[in-house]
Point group: C2
Chain length 255, copies 2
């Protein structure tokens, strides 16, 4: 019992998302599992934390070596709640996903899935975010099993470098098998967006965000390029936003 | 007219925050100003975007060269709304703040103020986040003027390196003058947190997040250290989460 690793699992698509259920089914035998997820979708919540309102928590499954909690929090809140309240100690591993939708390239910055993963990293806990490049609720997760399992087992066995977590993305399922795993850099790709302007029944204007993804990054070793070529991508990621190359170049002294 | 730069200003403390009013008063003469801010505090909203709900916008001030909009969105939504709808073009500069509370060290990852700044960077717009190390609504901004003005004018004149924005933090006001500006790295400091557990009148448990900030980073050139020593800190920051040192070190091939 004592030697079983404690694995905290969360996501940003909510507790009933098929991607979360898939992830649980793949790794459930690897340790003591604590699932902490939100009632509603927290997609696009990034690294948001709930500081203006209190949080509610409900235990919905309590079995030996397996518990599930439903919360009103964000993915980052869920990692914090796990550590401080529900697990009673730092987990040995945090897993997040499997997200319905890619978190490659700039998507990491908007992602609640990766928010949870980065939050674990701040506390020195190895963490992996898994995402599939398919937004559909009926996304086909049928080829991810071996990849999720092997990456998770390797991280459980070997850990990760200090301050580093993994952003893992799976191509949308096609007729071809995935070609393998590539360790990559985050592509410098972005969303080209528009707001749809509509009128409500009272004649007042409101806006919906919409957009399409555009990759202008020609480097050979980016996640977006590998994902487009049917590889499973792994980007070692961290929480240091510093552009270190520019620290000694910039000068802002007055006069 | 045509030569005046277009400056978009936002924050995460809401449209009525004294820090926002202070920032506007300092830079108002530098260009055409468009202020887009949220009705309520969006503190801790990080890089969250509103994708589940439509956004509402209200123009509350419309003067020559100066407009103010109130929105239901996050700071990142406000930058997107400005670009796509309210300004009609990419601004020449995005300013965010002045935040009531430090965004040095790991605070950048939770910060709505810096979320807005990073969002501008994704579109190639120079952007600066200003924050004061004092959470109080009556925080003393009396020493920031020259620093805000000189940094803003320099960025308007010279731009910033591609993909780089600035995270500027001011020490809490004391009897001593600020010692000057230091260009720094993001300190590896973090929050040591707890959840306060309470009971509502119906006997149900809820949790409040609370915590204290702890800096264990001994490096000489971090923002937290300089801030603690009464320097104004500038961290050149970017949206690339890749831990580049680890791209060629990690190997996840099956078997």
């Amino acid at each position: 019992m004592e030697n079983k690793p404690l694995i905290l699992i969360t996501n940003d698509d909510g507790i009933n998302a098929p991607g979360l259920r898939k992830l649980i089914s793949i790794v459930k035998h690897l340790g003591d599992i604590i699932v902490i997820a939100s009632e509603h979708s927290m997609s696009g919540m990034a690294h948001a934390v709930t500081i203006q309102n209190p949080l509610r928590v409900k235990c919905i499954t309590n079995e030996p070596n397996y518990r599930e909690y439903l919360t009103t929090g964000t993915p980052v809140d869920n990692v914090k709640l796990g550590k401080h309240k529900l697990a009673g100690r730092l987990p040995d591993l945090v897993l997040s996903g499997i997200n319905h939708g890619s978190n490659a390239a700039i998507n990491i910055i908007y992602s609640g899935t990766m928010g949870a993963v980065l939050e674990a990293t701040i506390d020195g806990v190895p963490a992996i975010g898994f995402s599939l490049d398919d937004f559909s609720q009926s996304a086909d997760f049928n080829e991810v099993d071996n990849y999720v399992l092997s990456i998770t087992k390797k991280v459980l066995a070997d850990g990760l470098p200090d301050g580093v977590c993994l952003n893992v993305n799976f191509p949308k399922r096609s007729d071809d098998h995935y070609k393998g795993i590539k360790v990559c850099r985050q592509a410098d790709a972005r969303w080209v967006e528009e707001f749809e302007e509509r009128q409500d029944p009272h004649g007042r204007t409101y806006y919906w965000l919409a957009g399409r993804f555009e990759n202008g990054d020609g480097r050979p070793d980016t996640d977006q390029k590998a994902l487009d070529n049917n590889y499973v991508t792994v980007v070692p990621s961290h929480t240091d936003f510093t552009s270190h190359d520019n620290v000694n170049k910039l000068d802002f002294n007055l006069k």
